[in-house]
C-alpha cells in the first residue's frame, strides 16, 4: 500500500470506528476504540505529511478520476493541519478518560461515537480536494459537535448548543451558497479545476458574491469578531474534553478552509489585490485581538475567559493571513499549531481543576496553588506560552507575526501585538494571583492534587509548548512549506 492509498485512512479510520463505537457498551471499550482510532489516524497523518512535503499527493475515491469523482489532494498545507488535528485528538484522549467518566457518566458509547464523527469530519474537511465535499464534512463535524456540546453538565449547555446550531448552520449555508455560485459559473466542484476556470470569470458579480459568502460563512465557524458570539457559551458549557478538542482544532480547520478558498481556489491576487479582502480581514482581526483580550480580563468564569482569549488568538492568525505574504501566512499557520498546543494545555489544566474542585470560577482558584501545585504550575507555564515569552512556542508565533508585520510595512501593528500580549499577561495573571496570593475561602472544600493519569497528559502538552519553542524545525518547517504551498496558488505548486 502506497502512501497515497494510505492517506485517506486518517479520515476513514475514525469514521468507521464511530459506527462501531456507538454500539459498544460500558466505559472502557468505547474509549479504547476511540483512542486507537485517533492514534492510528495521527500516525497515518504523520506519514502523509512526510510524503506531502515533497509534492502534492492525489487520491481518487472509488477510482473515479477527478474532476468527475471526489479527489483527495494533499499538499504540505492540509497535511500539516491534518496532523495537527489528529495529533491533538490522540494526545488528549488519555486525559479525557477520567474527565469524561465524571462529566458524562452514562451512555459513553454514543458520546465517543459522536466525538469520532466530529473528528472524522474535521479530517475530511482538511484532506479533501473537492469543494462540495468540504461542505458535507463540515456538516458532519458540526452536527456531531452540537450534540457533544449539549452533553455539558450545566443546563445552559443546551441553549449554547442550540445557538451554535443556528449560527453554525447559517455559516454552513453561506458556504454552500458560495460553492453553489461557483458551480453555477464554472460547472466544476474540484478545487484544482475551479482554480483554473475562475480567472476568466474574475470580474463577474456572481464570483465576487460567492467569495463574500464563503468568507462570511467560514468567518462564522472561525469565530472572527463580530461573528464570534456563539463561541464563548459553547466552549464554556461543553464538557471539559470537548472544550479542549474544539479549542485546539475546530477553529483551526475553519481557518484552513478560509485559506484554501482565498489562496488556492481564488488566487491571492484576486482575493486580496483585486478585491479589498485584506483590509476587511485585518480590521476584523484587530478588533478581535483587542476586544477578545479585553473582555477576557473581566471574566469570572475561567473557561469563558479562555474562550474569549481564543477569539483574540484567532485574531492573531487572521492578522497574519491579512498581510498576504509568505511570512504572514507562515505566522498564521505557525500560530495555528502553537495555539492548539497552548490552548489544549490550558483547557486541560482547567478541566483537571474542574475534575478536582468542581468549579472553574475565579473564586474557586483561591489558594489552589498550594493544594494543586502541579496542575497550577502547568497552567502557569502554558499561560507563559499564551502570553508569548521565550522559550515557548507562543514566543515563536509572536516573533514570526511581528516579523511579518514589520516586513510588510505595518510597523504600527507591532504596538498592537505588544499591547494585546500585555492584556494576555493580565488575564492569565488574575488566575495565578488568585491561586498563589489569595487565601482560600473558609467554607472551601478540601482539595488535593489531581491523579497522575490527569497530570501526565497535561504536562506532556506543557512540555510540547517548550519543546516547540526551542526546537522549531518541525513547526516552523512545516508551516513555511504550507505557506509556500498556499502562496503558490495551485495546491502544492506544479502537480
Amino acid at each position: 500500500m502506497t502512501v497515497v492509498e494510505l492517506s485517506p485512512f486518517s479520515m476513514l479510520v475514525p469514521l468507521i470506528a464511530s459506527a462501531v463505537c456507538a454500539l459498544l457498551p460500558g466505559r472502557l471499550w468505547p474509549w479504547l476504540l476511540t483512542f486507537a482510532a485517533a492514534a492510528a489516524s495521527a500516525v497515518i497523518a504523520a506519514i502523509t505529511l512526510a510524503a506531502a512535503m515533497d509534492g502534492p499527493l492525489s487520491y481518487a475515491f472509488g477510482n473515479w478520476e477527478p474532476p468527475i469523482g471526489i479527489e483527495y489532494r494533499i499538499d504540505a498545507a492540509n497535511a500539516f493541519v491534518a496532523l495537527l488535528v489528529s495529533a491533538v485528538a490522540a494526545v488528549i484522549l488519555p486525559w479525557a478518560k477520567t474527565s469524561v467518566d465524571q462529566e458524562v457518566p452514562e451512555r459513553q458509547g454514543p458520546f465517543y461515537a459522536l466525538f469520532l464523527l466530529a473528528f472524522a469530519g474535521l479530517m475530511g474537511i482538511t484532506l479533501t480536494g473537492d469543494a462540495f465535499n468540504v461542505f458535507v464534512f463540515l456538516e458532519i463535524s458540526s452536527l456531531a459537535t452540537y450534540a457533544l456540546i449539549a452533553h455539558g453538565q450545566d443546563r445552559r449547555a443546551l441553549l449554547a448548543a442550540f445557538r451554535y446550531l443556528i449560527m453554525g448552520t447559517v455559516g454552513a449555508t453561506f458556504l454552500l451558497i458560495g460553492i453553489g455560485f461557483l458551480y453555477m459559473m464554472t460547472g466544476t466542484l474540484n478545487m484544482v479545476d475551479l482554480a483554473q476556470r475562475l480567472p476568466e470569470l474574475r470580474d463577474t458579480a456572481t464570483v465576487e458574491v460567492a467569495l463574500a459568502f464563503i468568507v462570511v460563512g467560514m468567518g462564522l465557524k472561525l469565530a472572527l469578531l463580530p461573528l464570534h458570539l456563539w463561541l464563548p457559551n459553547a466552549y464554556t458549557y461543553a464538557p471539559s474534553f470537548i472544550s479542549v478538542f474544539l479549542a485546539a482544532t475546530a477553529t483551526k480547520v475553519a481557518l484552513y478552509v478560509l485559506l484554501r478558498f482565498t489562496f488556492t481556489v481564488f488566487a491571492p491576487d484576486y482575493s486580496f489585490v483585486a478585491l479589498p479582502l485584506a483590509v476587511v480581514l485585518m480590521a476584523l482581526a484587530i478588533a478581535g485581538m483587542v476586544v477578545g483580550s479585553w473582555v477576557a480580563i473581566y471574566q469570572a468564569n475561567i473557561k469563558r475567559m479562555l474562550a474569549y482569549s481564543s477569539v483574540a488568538q484567532v485574531g492573531y492568525m487572521v492578522l497574519g493571513v491579512s498581510l498576504v505574504s509568505v511570512t504572514g501566512l507562515t505566522a498564521a499557520l505557525l500560530h495555528m499549531f502553537n495555539h492548539a498546543l497552548m490552548k489544549a494545555a490550558l483547557f486541560m489544566a482547567l478541566g483537571t481543576i474542574a475534575y478536582q474542585v468542581g468549579s472553574v470560577r475565579i473564586e474557586a482558584f483561591r489558594g489552589l496553588g498550594k493544594r494543586m501545585p502541579w496542575t497550577l504550575t502547568a497552567f502557569a507555564l502554558a499561560g507563559v506560552s499564551l502570553i508569548g515569552l521565550p522559550p515557548t512556542a507562543g514566543f515563536i508565533s509572536k516573533w514570526y507575526l511581528i516579523s511579518a508585520a514589520v516586513e510588510s510595512g505595518h510597523a504600527w501593528l507591532v504596538a498592537l501585538i505588544v499591547i494585546t500580549s500585555m492584556m494576555a499577561l493580565i488575564y492569565i495573571w488574575r488566575v495565578l494571583e488568585a491561586a498563589w496570593f489569595r487565601q482560600p475561602a473558609e467554607d472551601a472544600p478540601a482539595v488535593t492534587e489531581a491523579p497522575l493519569r490527569l497530570l501526565i497528559p497535561v504536562w506532556v502538552l506543557v512540555a510540547a509548548n517548550f519543546y516547540f519553542g526551542i526546537d522549531t524545525r518541525l513547526n516552523v518547517g512545516a508551516a513555511t512549506a504550507a505557506a509556500e504551498a498556499l502562496m503558490g496558488g495551485i495546491p502544492g505548486g506544479a502537480p
Binding site: A212, P232, V291, Y298, E407
Partner: protein, 560 residues
C-alpha cells in the same frame, strides 16, 4: 579540555541543585556555587564563544572582552557577598531566584548578539520578581506585579526594537547602534527603563524597598548595572544621555529628601548614582566610559554595603522608618561602622572607593568643557553625602534614642558586609588595581592635590552645615519629633524649593492621570465587564444580524 563554559548555564544548573538541597548542604552549596562561577569568570579569555545558528541568525552567547569582563567580575563578587549575607534565610525560592537572576545578568553582559541578550534580559525579569514577592506581604506582591508589568513592557519594546533593527540592518550583532531610526529609539528606551532613567524610574523606588532584606542586595546590584553595560555597549556618546544622566543624579538626590524609609532613601540614591554612569555614557570619551565601568564596579559594592547595613537594621528591629529609629550605634556598633564605610564610599570620600571612580566621571565632564554638567554633578555629590553619609546614619544610629534594644546582626551578615567594606577600602587605597581591568587604558590619578582639595572642601562644608543646623535644632527635644519642620530646616533652601515645585507638578499630573485612568477603567468595565455590551450572551437574532452586516460590508466593498 573545553575552553569555554558559559557561567550562566553553570549557575542555572547549580540553582536546580540548590532547589533540592536543605540545611547545611544548602548553605555550603550556596557559597560554593558562586565561588565556582567566579573562578570560571576569572578564567575567561577574550574571544567569541559558543556560536550557533538559530534559523538564519548567528547567535554568540559568549562574547568576552574587557568591557564585559569588568561587569562579569563584579557580578561574580557580589553574588558571593549577597549569598553570604542571605545564608541564614531558610527560603529556597529566594536563593534559587537570586542564582537564576544572576545568571541572567551574566548572560546579558556576555551576550554578543541581540537574541541572546533578549532571552537573558527576560530571564532576569522573571527571576528577580521573586525576590520581591518572597517578602510575602500584600504591599510587596503588588509592588512586584507593577515591577513585572513595567519590565514586561520594556522587554516588548526591546523585542520590537531588535526586530526593527534586524529588518533595517540584517544583523543581530550587539554592537554600538549606528543608524538612527525606530529601532534605535525603541532599544534605547528599553535600556533606559532598566537603567531607571526618569520618568521611567518609578518601578525601582516602588519595588526595591518592598523586596526581601537579602533580595534587595541582588536587585540593587544587577538590573540597573546590566542596563548601564548595555548602554555603554550600544549607545556610547549619545548626547541626550548626558542630560538625562544629570537629571537622574539630581532627581535621585532631591527625591531622597522625601523618603522616610531607609531603603527607599537608598533606592533613590541608586537612581542618582546610575545618573552619573548614564551621563558618562553620554559623554562617550574614553575617560568617561572607563569612569562609568569603574563607577559601576565600586557602586555595586558600596551600595550593596549600604543596603546590607539598612537590611541588618530592618532584620533586627523590624523597622525601616527614619522617624522610628535612632540611637542604635550602641547596640549594633559593627553594623554602624561598616555602614559608614559604605556611606563614605558613596560620598566619594578620599581613601574610599567612590572617590576613585566618581571623580573620573566628573573629571571627564571637566576635560570635555561641559561646565554645567560638571557643576550639577558636583552638586549632586554634596547631596549624596548629606543623605547617605550624614542624615541616614545620624537618624538611624545616633540622634534621639528610639528605645530600641536590638542585638548585633547575625554573623553571616556581618561577614558579608565586612567583605564588601574591605573591597571599598582597598579600591580606595589601591585604585590602580581597578584601573588595570578597565576596558580602556586610563592615565588617571585620583589622588592629585586638586581633586583632594575639591572633594574635601565639598564634603567638609556639607558636613559642617549639617552639624551646625543640627545643633541648632537639637537644642529643643520637642521639636525634633516634628519631622516635617526638621527636614525643611535641614535641607538647603534651593532643594526644598525644587522639591516643592517638582512635587506639586508631579502631584497634579498624577491626580489628573489617575482621574483619566479611573474614568477609562469605569468605561471599560461597563462595556467589557460582566454583563457589559461586549461580554454578554447575545440572542441568536443579533448574531444573525451581525452576520448579515459583515456580509453586506463585504459585498459593498467588493462592488466598489
Amino acid at each position: 579540555m573545553i575552553d569555554f563554559i558559559h557561567p550562566s548555564l553553570v549557575l542555572i544548573a547549580g540553582a536546580l541543585l540548590l532547589a533540592v538541597l536543605q540545611g547545611r548542604a544548602r548553605q555550603v552549596w550556596q557559597i560554593a556555587l558562586p565561588a565556582f562561577v567566579l573562578l570560571i569568570i576569572l578564567g575567561l579569555e577574550p574571544g567569541l564563544y559558543g556560536q550557533m545558528g538559530f534559523g538564519a541568525l548567528e547567535l554568540v552567547p559568549g562574547r568576552v572582552d574587557k568591557l564585559s569582563l569588568v561587569f562579569a567580575y563584579i557580578f561574580g563578587i557580589i553574588l558571593i557577598i549577597g549569598n553570604i549575607y542571605a545564608l541564614h534565610v531558610d527560603d529556597r525560592v529566594q536563593h534559587v531566584a537570586a542564582m537564576v537572576y544572576a545568571s541572567g545578568a551574566l548572560g546579558v553582559v556576555l551576550a554578543g548578539d541581540l537574541v541572546s541578550l533578549y532571552v537573558f534580559w527576560e530571564l532576569m525579569v522573571i527571576s528577580s520578581v521573586w525576590l520581591i514577592w518572597q517578602r510575602r506581604t500584600d504591599v510587596s506582591w503588588r509592588a512586584g506585579m507593577r515591577y513585572m508589568l513595567v519590565h514586561a513592557f520594556g522587554g516588548m519594546l526591546l523585542l520590537a526594537g531588535l526586530l526593527a533593527h534586524y529588518q533595517a540592518t540584517g544583523s543581530m550583532a550587539f554592537e554600538a547602534f549606528e543608524t538612527r531610526g525606530w529601532s534605535f529609539y525603541l532599544i534605547l528606551v528599553a535600556f533606559m527603563i532598566n537603567a531607571a532613567v526618569p520618568p521611567l524610574h518609578a518601578w525601582l523606588t516602588d519595588a526595591y524597598p518592598e523586596a526581601t532584606v537579602t533580595g534587595a542586595i541582588f536587585l540593587s546590584a544587577l538590573t540597573t548595572k546590566t542596563a548601564v553595560y548595555t548602554l555603554i555597549r550600544g549607545f556610547p556618546g549619545t548626547e541626550i544621555l548626558v542630560w538625562l544622566g544629570v537629571i537622574m543624579a539630581l532627581y535621585g538626590v532631591v527625591y531622597a529628601v522625601l523618603a522616610n524609609d531607609i531603603r527607599r532613601l537608598l533606592a533613590y540614591h541608586i537612581i542618582s548614582q546610575v545618573g552619573y554612569m548614564v551621563a558618562g555614557v553620554g559623554m562617550g570619551t574614553t575617560l568617561a566610559l572607563s569612569g562609568v565601568s569603574a563607577h559601576a564596579f565600586t557602586h555595586i559594592l558600596y551600595k550593596a554595603l549600604l543596603l546590607m547595613g539598612a537590611g541588618a537594621v530592618l532584620h533586627m528591629t523590624g523597622r525601616s522608618k527614619l522617624t522610628e529609629l535612632g540611637g542604635l550605634y550602641r547596640w549594633m556598633p559593627i553594623t554602624f561602622v561598616l555602614y559608614m564605610v559604605g556611606g563614605l564610599s558613596i560620598s566619594a570620600f578620599p581613601l574610599f572607593s567612590g572617590f576613585v571612580s566618581k571623580t573620573m566621571i566628573v573629571e571627564a565632564a571637566a576635560v570635555d568643557y561641559r561646565s554645567w554638567v560638571f557643576l550639577l554633578l558636583t552638586m549632586a555629590s554634596a547631596g549624596t553625602f548629606l543623605h547617605t553619609g550624614l542624615k541616614l546614619p545620624y537618624f538611624t544610629f545616633m540622634g534621639k534614642d528610639s528605645g530600641l534594644r536590638p542585638r548585633e546582626a547575625p554573623r553571616n551578615m556581618l561577614i558579608a558586609m565586612g567583605i564588601a567594606a574591605v573591597f571599598c577600602f582597598l579600591i580606595g587605597i589601591f585604585p590602580q588595581a581597578l584601573y588595570a581591568i578597565l576596558p580602556h587604558e586610563v592615565d588617571y590619578n585620583a589622588y592629585t592635590a586638586g581633586h583632594l582639595l575639591k572633594e574635601m572642601q565639598l564634603l567638609l562644608f556639607t558636613g559642617l552645615g549639617f552639624f551646625l543646623l543640627l545643633r541648632h535644632v537639637g537644642g529643643d527635644a520637642k521639636i525634633s519629633l516634628d519631622t516635617d519642620w526638621f527636614y525643611r530646616r535641614l535641607g538647603p533652601v534651593l532643594m526644598v524649593a525644587a522639591r516643592d515645585f517638582v512635587t506639586a507638578v508631579d502631584r497634579s499630573f498624577r491626580a489628573r492621570f489617575m482621574e483619566a485612568l479611573q474614568w477609562a477603567l469605569a468605561a471599560s468595565h461597563e462595556r467589557f465587564g460582566h454583563g457589559g455590551r461586549l461580554a454578554q450572551s447575545w440572542p441568536t437574532g443579533s448574531m444573525a444580524l451581525w452576520t448579515m452586516l459583515v456580509l453586506a460590508v463585504l459585498l459593498v466593498l467588493f462592488a466598489l
